[in-house]
Structures are given as structure tokens and as C-alpha cells.
């Protein structure tokens, strides 16, 4: 009998060995399709897709797509830097050969070199940053959720140099026009105007419920999309004239369940696109909201939208169940599907590199 026991002990020991022998040391979350070799960006037509990942999962990634070669590389930040991008990559902004990626739950901004995707600087100390917007060559603003301020970043030494108190615990997208920053205030349903020279708040303009995105057209009118909250009010698209600081047009969505977002404008600054379950297109001279969709979602979950500055192609991300890789569909400006490819989890923004 004791021989039998010996056999069992040896058997179990072997078994444990089988379970312990592992190909290579892997620590923490692993991504199967992410890039393992160094990537060189192309000269032109590169698109960076910012993939939020899931809150707490630390699986935010950057996808590199080349629209000429139709090549896709996943997880390029991790490959170039040997550490993950962070937790929830909210947005990105391109300026001066650099890409600023706002990593919301890691409370940081990664400044990345456009030529090799290595990190130039990690700006830390934010509370819960959302968007980055340079206001001049040496200064940028960063909007925040859960803190009543806009952070001011010194772009010379890449540190936070100060802040602007806002009264809003959720500031979202921003744009700059004529030394004034226009900031979406999600919590107070306002547009905050900030003087970018002295960083003083000039004015607060009342808007619809939850202004989430804004663009400026060729006539220097600012269009602001208000999603209406969680069935709080009807959504609105507002046309604001910054020169006379007045709302010139308010277009109200007919259905309380509509929750439009991702307002973008093409390179000509004439055609706007937004997501309202489907993709809609609207000319800046239109006096009413489009009644039919430009691209129907066909069961997909449209999560973000981009328009290519030269090809005019529309990029739209399907986030599916939000816990898997998004599929990006590229539509020609005749509404025909031109190409599809996979990106990372919750593709939230398209950055078209010059």
C-alpha cells in the first residue's frame, strides 16, 4: 500500500510541475494582439486611435493605423515604452510633433514623441483629467471631472503651473478662438469663457443639459452639442457667436431618449457630423437638424467619430459590449463602407497625424 502512496505523491508532484512550467514570465494583464516589435511611423496618413480601456483594468492602448497601407499596430505605447499607457485614456491632442494623451484614472498626461511614440514627459498631479488644449505656445489647459478647476500646464517644463477655479465639477471639451478658451461645463450646463492671457473667467453662457462637445466653423461660429443627460431634457445643438457672445440658433432634438455626442467638423469647416445612435451629417447653413441618418448603426454601438482631414473619410468606432476590442469602420464621403479594422477596447478618439 505504501508503494501506492508513493505513486500518488510522485504523481501529484509531477502534476504540480506541469502546472508550474510556464513559457515566459508574464506579470499582470497581457494583450494577445499587441505589438511586440518596434514600429516606425509613416511619413503621412497615420491615424492614432485612443482606446480608453476599462476603468480599473489598466488596458488603455494606442492603435496606429495607416490609411494608405491599411496597416494596423496595436498597443504601440507599451511597445515603445515598456510600460502600459495607464487606466482610461480619455483623449489625445496633437501639437508641435507631440501627442498629449490624457489618462483619466491614472491622473496623468503622457507627452509622446510623434516619430517613435516614446514618452517625452509624464505630467502628473491632476485629479481626474479629461481633455488637453494648448492655448498658446507655452501653455495648455486641462479640463477635469470631480474637481472645480481647469489645470494650467506649463509646456516648457511640462508641469502644472496653476489652475483656474470654475465652480464646475465636470469640465469637458475645450477650444480656443481669439485668446479666449471655450469650455463645456457638464455639471452646470454652461459654456465657460476664459481669457487665455490672464487666465480669468470672462463669462458663463447657459446652454442645454450636459454640453459634451464643440467645434468652430468657417464663419467662426461655435457649435455645441448638449446631450440632455439621462432623460433629463431634450438634447440640443446650439450655435453660438463668440464675437457678440450670443446664441444664434438652438436646434432641439425631438425625442427625449436621444443622446447625441461626438460633434466634429471636417477640414473645410462646413460639414458637421455627430453620433445619435447613428451617424448624422449636417451643413453649417442648415436651419434644422438632419432627419435621416448618414450612416445607420445596423446594431453596432457607435462610440466615437472622426473625419480624415484630407480624404474626408469618416471613421466610426463600434464599442460592442465595451469589454472587447472595438471595430473601426471607414466610410467614404459617398456613405459607402470602404474599410474595417480592429482597434483596442472602447476606441474613444481618432487623432489624424499631419
Amino acid at each position: 500500500m505504501s508503494k501506492f502512496i508513493t505513486h500518488i505523491v510522485v504523481g501529484l508532484a509531477l502534476l504540480m510541475f506541469t502546472f508550474s512550467s510556464c513559457k515566459k514570465e508574464e506579470f499582470g494583464p497581457q494583450c494577445k494582439n499587441c505589438e511586440e516589435n518596434a514600429i516606425t511611423p509613416s511619413i503621412q496618413n497615420d491615424v492614432i486611435i485612443v482606446n480608453e480601456g476599462n476603468f480599473g483594468f489598466g488596458n488603455a492602448t494606442l492603435t496606429l493605423y495607416n490609411s494608405t497601407e491599411k496597416s494596423v499596430h496595436h498597443g504601440i505605447f507599451q511597445q515603445a515604452n515598456n510600460y502600459p499607457l495607464g487606466d482610461v485614456a480619455q483623449s489625445a491632442y496633437y501639437f508641435n510633433g507631440k501627442i498629449a494623451v490624457v489618462v483619466n484614472n491614472s491622473n496623468k498626461i503622457e507627452l509622446i514623441d510623434k516619430t517613435n511614440f516614446t514618452s517625452i514627459a509624464t505630467i502628473t498631479g491632476f485629479d481626474s483629467p479629461r481633455y488637453f488644449c494648448p492655448v498658446n505656445s507655452s501653455t495648455a489647459y486641462v479640463s477635469n471631472i470631480f474637481s472645480n478647476k481647469i489645470d494650467i500646464v506649463n509646456l516648457t517644463n511640462n508641469t502644472i503651473s496653476g489652475s483656474i477655479t470654475t465652480n464646475s465639477n465636470w469640465t469637458e471639451e475645450m477650444l480656443v478662438y481669439n485668446d479666449t478658451a471655450y469650455v463645456c461645463d457638464m455639471s452646470n450646463n454652461k459654456l465657460i469663457l476664459i481669457n487665455t492671457t490672464n487666465h480669468q473667467i470672462i463669462d458663463n453662457i447657459s446652454l442645454g443639459i450636459q454640453p459634451n462637445s464643440l467645434v468652430i466653423d468657417k464663419n467662426n461660429n461655435i457649435w455645441i452639442m448638449c446631450d440632455g443627460g439621462f432623460n433629463e431634457a431634450n438634447a440640443q445643438l446650439i450655435k453660438f457667436n463668440p464675437n457678440i457672445r450670443a446664441i444664434e440658433q438652438t436646434l432641439v432634438f425631438s425625442d427625449i431618449n436621444h443622446s447625441p455626442s461626438d460633434l466634429i467638423i471636417d477640414n473645410s469647416k462646413e460639414n458637421m457630423y455627430f453620433i445619435n445612435t447613428h451617424v448624422f451629417k449636417m451643413n453649417i447653413n442648415d436651419t434644422s437638424l438632419p432627419t435621416s441618418s448618414w450612416v445607420s448603426n445596423n446594431g453596432e454601438v457607435f462610440y466615437s467619430l472622426g473625419v480624415h482631414p484630407t480624404t474626408q473619410e469618416i471613421y466610426v468606432a463600434d464599442a460592442k459590449d465595451f469589454v472587447q476590442n472595438s471595430t473601426i469602420s471607414v466610410y467614404k464621403n459617398n456613405q459607402q463602407l470602404s474599410h474595417q479594422f480592429q482597434s483596442g477596447i472602447n476606441s474613444g478618439q481618432f487623432l489624424f497625424l499631419p
Binding site: I5, M16, F19, G229, D321, Q324
Partner: protein, 629 residues
């Protein structure tokens, strides 16, 4: 699959020789079975010995069963799931009373230190219906033992434990039991524990993987339990009160630098019950009041959130022994749930009542149980939720029992699912599971060796699975979205061997679980037919214990296979394999026993994560002194 073949080989070789051991489930009238789950279902029993060597329920299950424990780290939130279901599909009962929060339907297993209960029984799949609705995966039953009132042994028993370990951990626990004259019984249990949990880890989320110390992870727990029982001729009446308080800081993931979150939990649990029998009836009547407070704070974003819930849970269980072959089962549960939270517009209340009727019995070598649970929750009336199980002892091979079970159970949406502002969806339907299992149990003694093995295949469908996803205005909202198929295999093997003064015991548990989406709103979705996230396909644990006189050496090995963390299975957490070793020495004086135990956890210093980017402790130590009077 290698393991399965090993076990089967062992199994089939051994069935061919040796003496027979009886494992008949004997019918014993007028003995009240506290758990009352027929042995024809798959269950796991963890006795006092198992509960003594671990700190809390999460650890106990991690080391002794193949249910999956998702732990945020040492002392942090731990949830348990059975057979590929979710954490909200596991019921936890304390002496028959379901403790699951009506707010999120879950239990934090790190808040149940082992000194507060004596035995744990796990009910898998269809057997969980006996414990109430909601157990779509299974249920965990914590039980406090009562003394044998006829015992003439010592009337006062005292037990004190002191543990000191790595990360400034200190645990005091004690128990005094007094069996008085006239069959009165008093028992007091106390616990105080604290830890800094400032464990050191390598931060793989940062440049050059610096060595860091976990910040903001300290915890403090204390509580007591008081019981008074009185035995009458054919009846026992008792009251038990349990207070528990936990105050902890919540550490962040490796990807977040700044963090200032805390969570305080406070529970008041009062249970009054009586058990007895009269003629051919046996009964158990209980009334319980469970009050939970949870305060979560996040100073960085100025959040201070209060959550209170109150449960009133009443049971009337009556069994009627029709004859010595058949018992009629009848259980009525009147449960009132209420909760108020900062996330609700107002206080929410509901009744969650159910009535179970059925029969259990035996016919020659066949044991059987069949019952139905009728449930009324708010507007939902589910008249049919049946469960059936059969156990058949082979006529020629009495050491082998064939078992099979099947059943249906429903899980009702929680208050958070229904009413959370914003996002709650009042139109949710109950989740439904259809479960089945089949297997065999084998138990045999060969001279000085005893072998027990149980092998079970399971298959289940869970439909209307509630899933939270972003909806309008970026608000997360739940819907009855998923349909999941769970199937797999569970195997346990225990070998006990005795030679002179040496006792050797070897135990192994293995579970193979396939849990996948079988129906999604869109069929192009890459999550279709993929393994669900945080469900390991392979799980294995084993323990080898060698006892010589008063010295015991124990080695435990725990393997958790890779877990996917994205539904398309593109992301995963690598497998981990952890070893613990302990040496204990008992010193017996006249009426006093000292026991000194030294334990090394994570012996081979493995870096691993149970949840993405949450560091788990590297090699760490614990010294325990126990005193029994």
C-alpha cells in the same frame, strides 16, 4: 485534461480490489439535519479543522474548494463565484439566514473571519435552491455548532488565539463556552484584528518596474458573537447576536498614484430560533434581523456615500416523516428587504417570500429528493422552480454511488439594478438558471488507507443575465442581456493513510469550467462563444499533511489558470501557482493545550495578481499561538 486521466486511472484501478466501505445515506428519523441538503447533491463540507488554519471565509474557500475567489488583495474585497456564474449568484447563509445585501446581491467574503463560525457547507448548482432563490451558482452555508446537551464532559471551554504576521498583522480571537446545569448553553466569541497591509511589490505599470510599498491599505476589524441556548425535552430554543465592524482604507491599482478611499462596514445580526420534534414532525422556526451599514468615502473627489439595509428573515421549516422511507419537506420563508442609499431617490422596500414543498426518500439503493420553490418578489410570481436529485449505490460495488441532479432557480434584480440614480432599470426581469449535474462518488478503505473521490460533470444555462453597460448620456444602466452556458467538471480526491504514529493526508481538488456567451444582441460580436471574463478554465488545489504525534507539517499548492479580462479573450491575466507551508506543534498539559503554528505563505515568492493591477503579497509569514482550556 492530463489531471482528469490521472484521477480516473487511480480511480478505476482501485475499484477492482479491496474491501467494501459502506457509504449509505441512512434514514434517521427525529434527527434534525441543520443543512438538510440531500447527499445526492454535490456538496463540500469544511469542518472546524479547516476553518482554524485560515483567517477568513475567502481564504478558507480558496484553499479548500474550487469555487473561484476574486480578491482585490490582502484584506480587501473578495467575491466568490461557482461554476462560471457571477458573484451575485452566490448566496451566503448564516445558520440558514441569507446575508446577501439587497442592494448589490453580493457578499464581501473578507468580512467573515473564521472564528465566528464552526462549519461551512457548499451547495453547488441545483442544490442551492434548498437555501432560497438567487443561488444560480451555489450557496455557502456558515454554521455555528451546538454542544451535545447530554454530554457530561467539562462544562467550561476556553479558547484563545493570537496571530502575528507580516505587514504588521495582528489577530486576537477568543471563545468561551459554558454548558450549564439544566441544559443552558452560553457562548461568547470575540475578534480583533488589524494590519497595515503595506506589502512590497514590483510596479509593472511604471518605467523600470520600481519596487513600491502598497499605500492606503490598512484595515481594522473587530466583533463579537453571543449565544444563549436552552434545551428542553424535545426542543432547543436559542438566540444568537453577532456584531461586526470593519474599517479599512482602499488601496488603488498600480496605475493610480493618488488615492484616499475608505470603507467602513458595520453589521448587526440577531437570530432567534427553535428546533424540535413532535410525533412524526420535526421543525425549525427562526426569525432574524440583519442590519448593515456601509460608508464609503473618497476624499479626493469629495464623496461620502452612506448605504443602509435591513433584512427581516423568517423561516418555518417543518418536515413530516410519512414513514421510514419518505419525508415530506415544507419550508416557508418570509423575508422583508429594505435599503436606503445616497444613490437612491428614496428608501426601497420589498417582500421576498418563498415556499418550498417536496419529498425526499429512499427506495432500496436509490435515494431521491424532489421539491419545488414558489417565489413572490414584488410583482414577480414564479410558481415553478423545481429541483430533483437521485443517488444510486451500485449493487455490486457498494463503494460507488452514482448521482444526478437538475433544477431551476431565479435571481431577482437587486435594488441597485432597479433603482440606482442614474441608470437603474425598473423593468428588469429575474435572471434564470437551468442547472444539471451528474457524477459519482467513491469511498473505500484498504487497510490503513482510505480513498474518497467525487467526480461531477455540470451543465447550466443562465438566461436574462443582468449586465450594466453605458447608455444615454454616458450613464451605466443594466439590462437582461446575456445568455450564458456553463459546463465543466469537478473532481476531488482525498487519501488518508495511517502508519504507526504517522498520519498522512492528501487532498486534491480540480475544476474545469467552460463559461461562455451563447446569445448576444449582435452575432458579429467577438464575445460570442468566448470564455467569460474572470472565470478560470482550470483550477487546482491540493494539500499534503503529515502528522506525527503532536507535530504537523502541511503543504498547500493552489493553481489558478489564466483568466480572460476582455470578452473577446484578447486580454488575460496569467496563471498563478502559489505554495504555502506550515509547521505546528501542540503541547498538551493536563487540561490545557498549547498550539504553536508557523506558516509561510507564497513560499516561492511568486509575483501575481488576482485582479488586474492589484498586487498580491509576496512571501510572507504568520505565527499563531493557540491556547485551549
Amino acid at each position: 485534461m492530463k489531471l482528469i486521466s490521472v484521477i480516473f486511472t487511480l480511480f478505476f484501478v482501485q475499484t477492482t480490489f479491496g474491501q467494501l466501505l459502506n457509504d449509505t445515506i441512512k434514514f434517521e428519523p427525529f434527527v434534525i439535519e441543520e443543512f438538510a441538503v440531500s447527499a445526492t447533491y454535490k456538496t463540500t463540507n469544511l469542518d472546524a479543522v479547516a476553518t482554524k488554519s485560515v483567517e477568513n471565509l475567502a481564504q478558507l474557500l480558496q484553499e479548500n474548494s474550487t469555487v473561484f475567489i476574486k480578491s482585490y488583495g490582502s484584506g480587501s474585497l473578495a467575491s466568490v463565484s461557482f461554476r462560471g456564474t457571477g458573484a451575485g449568484h452566490t448566496r451566503v447563509l448564516w445558520n440558514g439566514v441569507s446575508l446577501n445585501s439587497p442592494m448589490n446581491g453580493q457578499i464581501d467574503f473578507s468580512l467573515y473571519p473564521t472564528p465566528f463560525f464552526d462549519k461551512v457547507e457548499l451547495h453547488y448548482g441545483a442544490s442551492g435552491l434548498i437555501d432560497g432563490n438567487g443561488a444560480l451558482g451555489g450557496s455557502v452555508n456558515l454554521q455555528n455548532s451546538l454542544p451535545n446537551f447530554n454530554d457530561s464532559a467539562k462544562s467550561v471551554k476556553l479558547n484563545y488565539n493570537y496571530s502575528i504576521g507580516s505587514f504588521n498583522k495582528q489577530i486576537h480571537s477568543g471563545k468561551v463556552a459554558y454548558l450549564g446545569t439544566k441544559k443552558w448553553f452560553y457562548e461568547t466569541r470575540i475578534l480583533h484584528s488589524e494590519a497595515e497591509n503595506d506589502l512590497v511589490y514590483y510596479n509593472f505599470a511604471k518605467k523600470e518596474n520600481p519596487e513600491e510599498k502598497l499605500q492606503n491599505a490598512a484595515l481594522k476589524q473587530y466583533g463579537f458573537q453571543q449565544a444563549i441556548y436552552k434545551k428542553f425535552k424535545n426542543q432547543t430554543v436559542g438566540v444568537r447576536f453577532w456584531y461586526f465592524n470593519s474599517d479599512r482604507n482602499l488601496p488603488s491599482t498600480m496605475l493610480v498614484d493618488k488615492n484616499d478611499e475608505t470603507q467602513q462596514d458595520e453589521s448587526f445580526r440577531l437570530l432567534v430560533n427553535t428546533t424540535g420534534f413532535k410525533n412524526k414532525f420535526s421543525y425549525k422556526i427562526s426569525a432574524a434581523l440583519i442590519h448593515d451599514n456601509l460608508i464609503y468615502t473618497n476624499k479626493l473627489i469629495d464623496v461620502n456615500s452612506k448605504n443602509n439595509s435591513l433584512l427581516m428573515d423568517n423561516h418555518v421549516d417543518v418536515n413530516y416523516f410519512i414513514n421510514d422511507k419518505i419525508t415530506f419537506l415544507n419550508k416557508v420563508n418570509v423575508r422583508h428587504e429594505q435599503a436606503i442609499a445616497d444613490g437612491y431617490n428614496n428608501e426601497h422596500k420589498r417582500f421576498n417570500n418563498s415556499w418550498l414543498t417536496g419529498f425526499s426518500g429512499n427506495f432500496k439503493r436509490l435515494n431521491w429528493t424532489v421539491f419545488n420553490r414558489m417565489t413572490v418578489v414584488d410583482d414577480f410570481f414564479k410558481p415553478i422552480a423545481p429541483s430533483i436529485s437521485l443517488g444510486y449505490q451500485l449493487p455490486k460495488l457498494e463503494s460507488v454511488t452514482l448521482k444526478a441532479a437538475a433544477g431551476i432557480n431565479h435571481n431577482y434584480p437587486t435594488f441597485n439594478d432597479l433603482y440606482w440614480t442614474s441608470g437603474g432599470n425598473p423593468n428588469l426581469k429575474p435572471e434564470e438558471a437551468k442547472m444539471s449535474e451528474a457524477g459519482l462518488k467513491y469511498q473505500k478503505a484498504f487497510g490503513k488507507t482510505t480513498i474518497t473521490t467525487e467526480n461531477t460533470f455540470f451543465f447550466a444555462h443562465v438566461s436574462n443575465w443582468i449586465l450594466w453597460q453605458p447608455s444615454a448620456g454616458n450613464i451605466w444602466s443594466p439590462t437582461n442581456l446575456k445568455k450564458v452556458e456553463n459546463k465543466g467538471f469537478e473532481s476531488t480526491l482525498t487519501i488518508k493513510y495511517k502508519l504507526n504514529k504517522v498520519d498522512l493526508s492528501i487532498r486534491g481538488n480540480y475544476a474545469y469550467t467552460i463559461s461562455k456567451n451563447i446569445n448576444l444582441p449582435k452575432n458579429t460580436d467577438d464575445a460570442l462563444y468566448k470564455q467569460l471574463i474572470y472565470v478560470p478554465q482550470h483550477q487546482f488545489n491540493s494539500n499534503i499533511k503529515l502528522t506525527y504525534k503532536n507535530t504537523a507539517l502541511s503543504y498547500g499548492y493552489y493553481y489558478t489558470g489564466l483568466r480572460y479580462i476582455s470578452t473577446d479573450n484578447n486580454w488575460y491575466l496569467p496563471a498563478n501557482y502559489i505554495s504555502n507551508i506550515s509547521l505546528s506543534q501542540a503541547i498538551k498539559l493536563k487540561t490545557t493545550t498549547f498550539n504553536l503554528r508557523f506558516q509561510v505563505n507564497n513560499l516561492f515568492n511568486q509575483t501575481y495578481q488576482s485582479i488586474a493591477w492589484r498586487p498580491m503579497p509576496l512571501r510572507n509569514y504568520m505565527l499563531t499561538l493557540a491556547l485551549n482550556l
